[in-house]
């Protein structure tokens, strides 16, 4: 609302000559402000974005918007140059400042969008983008985790890396080789941490120094490092999904500068890849299918009981924790051939709301 600066003299003049109209104009101004955009920077300035992979090989990956304030849902809010959808297999979106970075795993592109209006700005394309996964923005550079090529005649990954892109001109500066299956990225203040998952085939987190774009080391954890968060003490937590069927997932706490492994906790389940944290960053949230768990950052053993059971969920494909309310969001992909659903639970597990997302919802992002 734009109010001109008025002097007390002006006000007395107005009051004298337009006493009735003054009240009326104030009323009109008041009503106008109710009609004004709640998000003046753009329709999607705050709320939640659900990233949907789309149907296999159908190029119909989308972004779904959920307005937390009103409960309104809008499907397919970002269209690529083709105009119909966001692209083939949308894997993730990362927001940084006024920009959003949408990683299109199937089309091998990173679409740069206005963070608030979701309109397309630029596209990062490069022959080095071969199955990109996640983006982390540090300063004026983007760090993209890339799976890389398949082996000849098969589907094993043979050369994954982190690609460093100069965002001033969208060109590739460096390719940092990492272990296979590089996935989640997190900047810990000094170093960038890249989880090498590879469906449980890799067991390390790559540590990258963004000042020189060099690989510092690979920290060996357990099979399948995936989601990572920073806790209230600034410590890095990484969840490992474990070996298939072995129920040997683990949580690791790592010092973000010394890189020492401070704690390792056996979870006795195979957890899902997403790791969440409560708004006060004192409890971690992880899941194994429809079982949702909470663990204190000072714990040394896994919880014996679940926090709650998300009984509505058929296929837990993504999980996120709302940093404002602490609500736990579970994205249900059902059978990957139909529109997915998102279920929102309170931090105690009471159902809050649910809505329809796109096909194969794979990430929950809060703005």
């Amino acid at each position: 609302m734009n109010l001109q600066k008025t002097t007390s003299h002006d006000i007395s003049v107005i009051a004298r000559f337009f006493s009735g109209s003054f009240v009326l104009s104030l009323l009109i101004l008041f009503l106008q402000s109710c009609d004004e955009e709640p998000n003046p920077k753009g329709k999607y300035e705050s709320g939640a974005i659900i990233v949907n992979e789309g149907g296999f090989g159908s190029a119909n990956g989308t972004l779904t918007y959920f307005d937390v304030a009103t409960g309104g849902v809008e499907q397919n809010i970002f269209r690529n140059e083709g105009g119909a959808f966001a692209g083939d297999v949308v894997q993730s979106v990362t927001f940084s400042g006024d920009r959003g970075y949408v990683v299109i795993n199937g089309d091998n592109k990173v679409e740069i969008v206005n963070s608030h209006t979701l309109e397309s700005l630029e596209t990062i394309e490069s022959s080095d983008l071969d199955k990109p996964r996640y983006v982390e923005v540090i300063g004026d550079k983007a760090y993209i985790s890339v799976w890389g090529p398949y082996e000849d005649g098969g589907y094993a990954l043979i050369n994954s890396y982190v690609l460093v892109v100069d965002l001033t001109n969208n060109t590739v500066i460096k390719k940092i080789e990492t272990d296979e299956g590089t996935e989640n990225l997190l900047f810990g203040g000094t170093y960038l941490f890249a989880s090498n998952h590879n469906f449980g085939g890799s067991n390390s987190v790559a540590v990258i120094d963004p000042t020189g774009n060099t690989l510092v080391k690979h920290i060996e954890l357990a099979s399948g490092p995936a989601g990572s968060v920073l806790d209230a003490n600034g410590k890095l937590w990484v969840i490992c999904t474990g070996d298939f069927g072995a129920s040997n997932g683990q949580l690791f706490r790592i010092h973000p500068s010394t890189l020492a492994i401070e704690e390792s906790i056996d979870l006795n389940v195979n957890p899902d890849m997403d790791l969440g944290i409560t708004p006060d960053k004192s409890n971690l949230i992880y899941s194994a299918g429809s079982s949702i768990y909470s663990i204190s950052i000072s714990a040394t053993v896994a919880p014996t009981d679940e926090l709650f059971e998300a009984t509505d969920v058929v296929y837990n494909y993504a999980m996120g924790v709302d940093p404002d309310s602490g609500n736990i969001w579970i994205a249900d992909a059902l059978n990957f051939a139909t529109e997915g659903k998102v279920y929102v639970y309170s931090n105690a597990g009471d159902p809050v709301t649910s809505f329809t997302a796109g096909i194969s919802p794979t990430q929950v992002v809060f703005k």
Binding site: A59, N60, D88, D107, N335, A337, I359
Partner: protein, 629 residues
């Protein structure tokens, strides 16, 4: 080995036994061999592909052509790419494609790829709608496409050359000769296309979609005696494709090559005992996708006997044996082998105004209890006079589809105890012809499919095949045709429309969203139309195909649905005839109105494009009649 011999012996014994039932009429020797399969399909429609359409667009594959004449939908994954058929609301695995009496669906996947069935390879293409497993075996639920390369080469030499948009070139050569009792006909074809058509949505040219297809069809026939014939058919087809990526993807490097060998040999003899036939065949299908090879090898043996009693009753017995070997890495180290035996019997009789047929088939498959498959049909002539002909037709059938090799043998998850999919189908309709120039037809159809096989995710995230789904389809199909003109001017207008509701009734727990919803890529409304005229040596045709909205996900979401579209092709042709030489020239405008459409989500299709075709034929010397086969 002994199994093959045993079956042959069994059939010969059966034939002698049947003879004892009564006198038979010896079918006219030399010229007429057996009755066409349509005889035993009273109450059904078997419609041939329009010869003008087939000739003008012989370089196109059936997945592009059939929808201009029939209310059939094809999900084509791009231009010249994988093509899956949808007939009467069924899935691509539920249409049986047969060539010269051999089923040529993929035994590993279940469906036939229509993009590697070029019209030029066939002398005849017929479409049977509705259930027909009793006659056509596994997979004949929604319908069957019957192909034959009978070597019916009406001219000694025929050469064709086409040039079209986006770097498209097509050449075909056909030659045939008859020497005494021996005749041979050969056909060679080659098609290639750069396929870099402009994509409407992006303004860029389509990349990485070039393809090449070529093939060879050979037929030998030897008349051993006046009513004994030996024939050999061989068809080799070779396709190499860059797989067209989704719109906006410029980095894909996927490619696929297909090699198919199909060989059939047959011996037929016709005498007072009836028409006895023996056949054998070999089919080899090989696909290499991004360096990964998968191959299926099949031996086929068949024996059959046909009879016509003096009272006009037609009786036929048939047995077929398939030995199938799957050489696919994902099946594990052992190459599974499977045997399938089919026994069938058919009866047909025409009374004064009624023609009725009864068919029954019993399949035997290793470790599967396959059901008995009957087909009963009737055509009733309600009215016939010099002006009108009104016919009522109806049929009921039970049909099945055997599980594929993938369903049974995929490493760790394949199951030998999977049951076949079964369906119960019924259809009733009426067709009315006036003055032999005007006709209208309408039919209602319905089908219940049970035990539909789906790959279901388990609690561990692994997919396993299960007989879980039930689908109910129903609909109405109508068509109308007008023929007019006389002398040097002929005109024909033809239109057909189908409304199909194909709805999931039951399915597995993770797929509950699809209950009550239309199957994906199954339009409610489909139509086709043709407007054609011939004036002396000129011909002109408009062809139209229409598809209604198609859902691409199980919850029938409007977000992901494909918009309805109508596609029109236009062709004009001129022919010159000089003694024995005939020259035909055609101009074809495909997608006349530059429609933007998709047949499969995310795969662009070309806008308006052109094709020029010239065909030279050397005709037979006059007085020499063509041999009827």
């Amino acid at each position: 080995m002994f199994l093959r011999l045993g079956i042959s012996v069994l059939l010969i014994i059966t034939a002698f036994f049947a003879k004892a039932q009564g006198d038979s009429i010896v079918l006219k020797p030399v010229y007429v061999y057996g009755l066409p399969v349509e005889t035993y399909l009273a109450g059904s429609q078997v419609v041939p592909l329009d010869t003008a359409l087939k000739t003008q667009q012989e370089s196109r594959h059936l997945g592009e052509l059939l929808s201009f004449q029939f209310p059939i939908y094809f999900r084509n994954y791009g231009n010249g790419m994988l093509s899956g058929i949808s007939m009467r609301g069924s899935s691509p695995q539920q249409v049986a494609v047969r060539w010269n009496g051999i089923n040529i669906n993929s035994f590993s996947l279940g469906q036939a790829d229509f993009s590697i069935l070029p019209a030029v390879a066939f002398d005849e293409v017929k479409v049977h709608t509705g259930g027909g497993s009793a006659l056509f075996g596994s997979g004949a639920l929604g319908g069957s496409v019957l192909l034959s390369s009978s070597g019916r080469s009406p001219v000694p030499v025929s050469v064709s050359q086409e040039v079209g948009s986006f770097g498209r070139y097509f050449t075909s050569l056909q030659a045939g000769f008859t020497q005494g009792r021996f005749s041979s006909s050969s056909s060679f074809y080659h098609l290639q296309s750069e396929n870099d058509f402009p994509v409407e949505d992006t303004g860029q040219r389509q990349s990485h979609a070039a393809f090449m297809q070529q093939g060879f069809v050979q037929r030998f026939e030897f008349d051993i005696a006046s009513a004994k014939k030996l024939a050999l058919n061989y068809w080799y087809h070779d396709a190499d494709r860059e797989i067209q990526p989704t719109i906006g993807n410029t980095t894909s490097t996927d490619e696929q090559s297909d090699r198919n060998h199909r060989l059939s040999v047959s011996y037929e003899q016709n005498n007072t005992l009836g028409l006895l036939s023996f056949g054998g065949g070999i089919v080899n299908d090989r696909i290499v996708y991004n360096g990964v090879k998968s191959e299926v090898f099949r031996w086929i043996a068949s024996a059959g006997h046909q009879y016509t009693f003096s009272n006009g009753l037609n009786l036929s017995f048939r047995s077929e044996w398939n030995h199938i070997i799957g050489k696919i890495e994902e099946y594990g180290l052992e190459e599974p082998a499977e045997d399938r035996i089919d026994l069938s019997a058919s009866l047909q009789k025409t009374f004064k105004k009624i023609s009725a047929s009864a068919n029954i088939r019993k399949p035997f498959i290793t470790d599967i209890e396959a059901p008995l498959l009957p087909y009963l049909g009737v055509d009733i002539l309600l009215l016939e006079n010099s002006i009108h002909r009104l016919n009522l037709n109806a049929n009921v059938s039970r049909n099945f589809r055997a599980p594929t090799l993938n369903d049974r043998y995929w490493k760790d998850v394949g199951r030998m105890d999977l049951q076949p999919e079964t369906s119960h189908a019924a259809e009733a309709g009426v067709d009315w012809k006036m003055h032999k120039k005007y006709s209208i037809a309408a039919s209602f159809f319905g089908q219940q499919v049970d035990d539909w096989i789906q790959w279901v995710p388990g609690a561990d995230g692994i997919y396993r095949p299960q007989n879980v789904k039930e689908v109910s389809t129903s609909g109405i199909e109508t068509s109308a045709e007008v023929n007019a003109g006389s002398g040097s001017f002929l005109f024909r207008a033809r239109a057909t429309y189908q409304y199909t509701r194909s709805v999931t009734k039951e399915t597995h727990d993770a797929d509950q969203e699809s209950i009550g919803n239309q199957l994906i890529y199954t339009p409610l409304h489909t139509g086709a139309a043709n407007l054609g005229g011939v004036y002396k040596t000129w011909s002109m045709n408009f062809y139209l195909q229409y598809s209604g909205k198609r859902y691409t996900d199980a919850s029938n979401s409007p977000v992901y649905a494909l918009d309805p579209f109508a596609l029109v092709d236009f062709s004009i042709g001129k022919s010159w005839l000089q003694k024995r030489h005939r020259l035909d020239f055609y101009i074809l405008v495909k997608n006349l109105f530059d429609t933007t459409y998709q047949l499969y989500s995310g795969r662009a299709m070309p806008g308006r494009n052109f094709n020029f075709k010239i065909t030279y034929q050397l005709k037979h010397k006059t007085n020499e009649s063509t041999k009827d086969h």
